[in-house]
């Protein structure tokens, strides 16, 4: 269990850094979704299944969906300006 927790902690650290390093917002939203999923697994490994459940849904579905919608709107506005 400890090994699994350690591995997941490292993965989450790598995942978080990746989210920051990916500069394109659209890709970033997808990577953030994967990162959210990782966090959910981490919470699960630390014996917080209820937190994991909400983290998985919020982090990997609702949040990316909202970001993508916002980006779509921004792209639309930019298209109007040109």
């Amino acid at each position: 269990m400890m090994v699994l927790q350690g591995v997941l902690l490292v993965l989450v650290a790598v995942g978080g850094t990746t989210v920051v390093l990916v500069r394109d917002p659209l890709r970033q939203s997808i990577v953030a979704g994967v990162f959210g999923l990782l966090l959910g697994v981490l919470f699960f490994a630390f014996q917080a299944p209820d937190v994991a459940l909400s983290q998985i849904v919020v982090g990997s579905l609702v949040l990316p969906a909202m970001i993508v919608l916002t980006l779509a709107k921004l792209a639309q506005l930019r298209g109007l300006d040109e």
Binding site: P49, V57, V58, A65, M66, T70, K73
Partner: protein, 255 residues
């Protein structure tokens, strides 16, 4: 501010923050070493006192029910604020082309069959899972917040599956608003029940029942259902408002 001043400032801040952070880490108790007496006491008495076998939910919805009320209203206020902002931007204009030529519906042609099939196939199980998690709040990990968000994600998936018009049909906005408001009101009304029963606000006034059964833990299932409705309503409302904003091709929208 020049580049040099900026990186100098960053270096100083990083060193200060880093040393404080390491200092704080060194003072932490050992990994897994829990020192809160409150949790240990609850672990012993909660099942007997409240008949809910999920002690986390017994704590959040009963012993600390008032905190959860605040939490619920944070979400309520946040959703409301976002909706007010987005609707004001949109003004009173209505999309005249409604029902016929939505960009979201045109997008349907770009959505792959595999994605649509998978998305639509997941909607049913997700709705069932959401309801299950909500009503089993006192029994299994999860509860109103988790179940509500799972329920809301089913609606998001309907959109991902590429059918905006179907989403509109399964999600009449007034109903979503009523669900959200009803969930928020339900929590307070259940809490008022405690006052009517002659005790304090959020006093667990309902019969506790047999631990481990669906109808146990007194008012905790009721509170879970309220929160579940509120969360599902709030997230669907937020998502819908964002979606509507996108559908308004540049009309208003702060351009």
């Amino acid at each position: 501010m020049s580049r040099r001043v900026r990186s100098g400032l960053f270096l100083v801040a990083a060193v200060v923050f880093g040393s404080l952070f390491i200092w704080g880490l060194l003072g932490l108790p050992a990994f897994g070493d829990y020192q809160g007496p409150y949790g240990i006491v609850l672990e012993d008495v909660a099942v007997e006192e409240r008949a809910g076998v999920n002690i986390v939910v017994s704590t959040t919805f009963d012993y600390r029910g008032f905190d959860t009320l605040g939490e619920e209203y944070i979400l309520f206020a946040a959703a409301l604020g976002a909706v007010v902002l987005l609707r004001q931007q949109r003004g009173e204009q209505k999309d005249e082309e409604e029902e016929q030529d939505h960009p979201a519906d045109r997008q349907r042609r770009d959505t792959s069959d595999a994605l649509r099939l998978l998305g639509l196939g997941l909607v049913g199980p997700l709705v069932v899972l959401g309801i299950y998690v909500i009503v089993h709040g006192a029994l299994t990990p999860g509860g109103g917040f988790q179940g509500g968000i799972v329920l809301a994600s089913a609606f998001v998936l309907v959109h991902v599956a590429g059918r905006y018009l179907i989403l509109k049909r399964v999600r009449p906005m007034p109903l979503v608003e009523i669900t959200e408001a009803g969930g928020a009101a339900g929590f307070v009304l259940t809490g008022l029940g405690g006052l009517i029963a002659g005790s304090t606000f959020l006093f667990n006034f309902l019969p506790l029942g047999e631990p481990g059964t669906l109808l146990s833990a007194g008012m905790i299932p009721l509170l879970n259902i309220s929160v579940g409705l509120e969360v599902a309503g709030a997230v669907v409302l937020l998502f819908s408002e964002f979606l509507e904003q996108w559908l308004l091709r540049g009309r208003g929208g702060g351009a």
